[in-house]
Symmetry: C2
Subunit: 500 residues, 2 copies
Amino acid sequence: MFESAELGHKIDKATFRKEVPKLRAELLDVQYDVLEKKEFPVVILISGVDGSGKGETINLLYSWMDPRHISTLAFSAPTDEERERPYMWRYWRALPPKGKVGIFAGSWYSQPITDRITGRMRRSEMDQLLDDINRFEAMLVNEGALVLKFWFHLSKDAQKQRLKALEKDPRTAWRVTKASYERLKTYDQLQDVAGHVLRVTNTAHAPWIIVEGTDDEYRSLTVGRIVLESMKKRLQQETRAQVPVAPPIVRAIDERNVLTELDLSQALAKKDYERELAKYQGKLSELARDPRFKEKHSLVVVFEGSDAAGKGGSIRRSVEALDARQYQITPIAAPTEEERAQPYLWRFWRHLPRTGRTTVFDRSWYGRVLVERVEGFCSEADWLRAYAEINDFEHQMVAAGAVVVKFWLQISADEQLARFKERQDTEFKRFKITEEDWRNREKWDAYVSAVCDMVDRTSTGLAPWTLVEANDKNFARVKVLKTICERLEAAVKNGDESTK
Amino acid sequence: MFESAELGHKIDKATFRKEVPKLRAELLDVQYDVLEKKEFPVVILISGVDGSGKGETINLLYSWMDPRHISTLAFSAPTDEERERPYMWRYWRALPPKGKVGIFAGSWYSQPITDRITGRMRRSEMDQLLDDINRFEAMLVNEGALVLKFWFHLSKDAQKQRLKALEKDPRTAWRVTKASYERLKTYDQLQDVAGHVLRVTNTAHAPWIIVEGTDDEYRSLTVGRIVLESMKKRLQQETRAQVPVAPPIVRAIDERNVLTELDLSQALAKKDYERELAKYQGKLSELARDPRFKEKHSLVVVFEGSDAAGKGGSIRRSVEALDARQYQITPIAAPTEEERAQPYLWRFWRHLPRTGRTTVFDRSWYGRVLVERVEGFCSEADWLRAYAEINDFEHQMVAAGAVVVKFWLQISADEQLARFKERQDTEFKRFKITEEDWRNREKWDAYVSAVCDMVDRTSTGLAPWTLVEANDKNFARVKVLKTICERLEAAVKNGDESTK
């Protein structure tokens, strides 16, 4: 893996001085092109062994480009806000928006590599995580990002010499600590682990670029040129690269699907409703206060459903049982400008609750495979890959202790028509029915297909869908509450659901 | 202060049941009006003694309005990300955007009250903080917010009875803890402190509303009606209330000002420049690594200046001395949609660095009293009050350990013309001069007035302006670097500059 980075690559200072001015001018130029186009972010990972010139290279990129449009994120110990969210949360929040360059000094690779060397992580666990990382990077590329992953390599001898040289120079001596020499001892282990990591994550869309770190001029010029050429090439690319992450949709050949099988006639009489509602609200209120929940879990509830299916009412009845200081309802409307400059899932990541808290999503990330698919707001490739991305997203939440409960509220076409008419006749202006609601109704069949595909592909063991027969509002509300209680209870009583 | 809240106010359940449906419908209606108009946020503080029904009232507001457009923030111990920023940072980040309702369960008042009761805070310190809070709330109101501050009161007997009642009911018994009874012991102290706090912060624009908490129906209906009436009234208000916070501008009657007094002929020969640059870059690099800096301080550098004054070059020379992993450059362009939905200073608060880190602002919050004033992008009242708001903002940074260094780079009109022409003749397209630059030039005198007023009003002992004679780029860059070093050194060597 690292052989070609132990050849003693170097260039002389004269060549370097000759080459740099042109490189700088071109880099600056292409950086402004990227900034003006605002079509994709540039994500640069700078990793490698100690003393291989990571910091120097980052500082050099700053001096070669316009530093005002670069951000660098170094990741040391996670903050408590980060620790209470999935592993990748801190990296999501650090992603550069379209048009900007984000440098990751230390990245999602740092922790698995360190944990593996120290033995805190098993090989199988690491491989799982690397698999997650591969899919995360595929998502980034599919969302348009240019992802450049650099690994700076030094032979063992070169590392030793470099540390000595740094130590000798009073301007850099501070950088050499006891820890540096300790890492020298684990050099062979690092090579082993890194070799494995790089091999497994050396994907076509985000390959590793291994650079010999011994010679400053060689390393700097190499990185500078690669960054330049990659940005140029990405600018010329007409369409985004599409990394296949989801198999195509296969249709069932009979007419049956998960929605036709629902018994929408199920109903609950008022008296039963009131009794059951009180019962489950009480139970939910208790569960949310359970120390086992408050210390280890969070709750994420997703509401999707046909227009007029009663999402609002169900949400209201559910949160009534909770303390307003412990939950947030996040209604999903059109993304803001800052959200549009990020990968699709970014705007949901930012709302994930801390431990002990609840977020209710009124519509959600499933918009991609529902309205965006049906209305053609995104390409087929985009919504096809969304299934896998969503599963990864939810899996990460669950791994961090979240209980993810997802509801699809289904009503019949007749019931919808009746509710639309009723709303139209109501004087209370807020429930006026819009033209769009009638238009959506015409696409009933397309929505049915989308919902069925969604359930097939995203109802996972860790985050299953609950289909709610919602023709009768009482029945629906109680089913929703009961389901939340059951899922929470299972998580609280069985600590194993969480790997946290 | 609390006399009228010990009269045993109550209403009977029948009246309550009769009143509520109408109140709910009206509240929902006015909430949607606020949401559609998107002109101001509603900030509701719910404070008061234990057991006075704070939680119940919040939950009731949720059930009366559309919970999807309300957020409630409870503030317990600050997270480590919050602890490393000014006291008010966590409240700024929790402010609701325009159109939404934000409920603060516990607020900026909680800590001073608690700290005063336990004796951790001196009376004089508390009074200072209350003064800050008054100005913060004035800012909120001036920015358009509707601020409703509720204080729920109980007589000592009523509180005891209420705790007992809560304890007896199995559904609420969990809420009564040992701490509740301990707070009962400090009842008199709380009354003393709260009485003082409420009196001092009972401003015309954000008065306290004291509500007797004993009777659930009375308290709920009172709060509901006040929220309704206040929102209605605020909606009818044509223009924003203007709370005076800055005296009017007084002109100097001779022609002299801080800019005319600058000796713009100062220059530095290339050789001297290179020596000085290296010297101060080395020094800055050392200071930024000093443990006394890294553990107690952060650095905020503001660059303002005439067009073509060389801000970019000065920033670049300064950050070259720093590790890219420890600083961010924040170029200030037009605010994003999310930023426009917040008070003016919000978009700067969000970029404040954590301890040990640096943020460089390329243009800044001073835009309000410079370009926005000159171009008429905001009202005179808005920019007049900005001086005081900015001083408060910077004062809070310094109190939290930040070293705030502000530069105004000044060139002569002739030098600017020369630079404009040079840029126009340069082929390198990025420095093309725009129409706007020429237009700004015509407003030279207006900008001079704005700059002089700015310096007069915001050059404070804790965050002074440094005017930089920038006709000679070398001279300017060295002066900038030298100033940053001096300010950092003073902070590092004299721990007293920070009150942290």
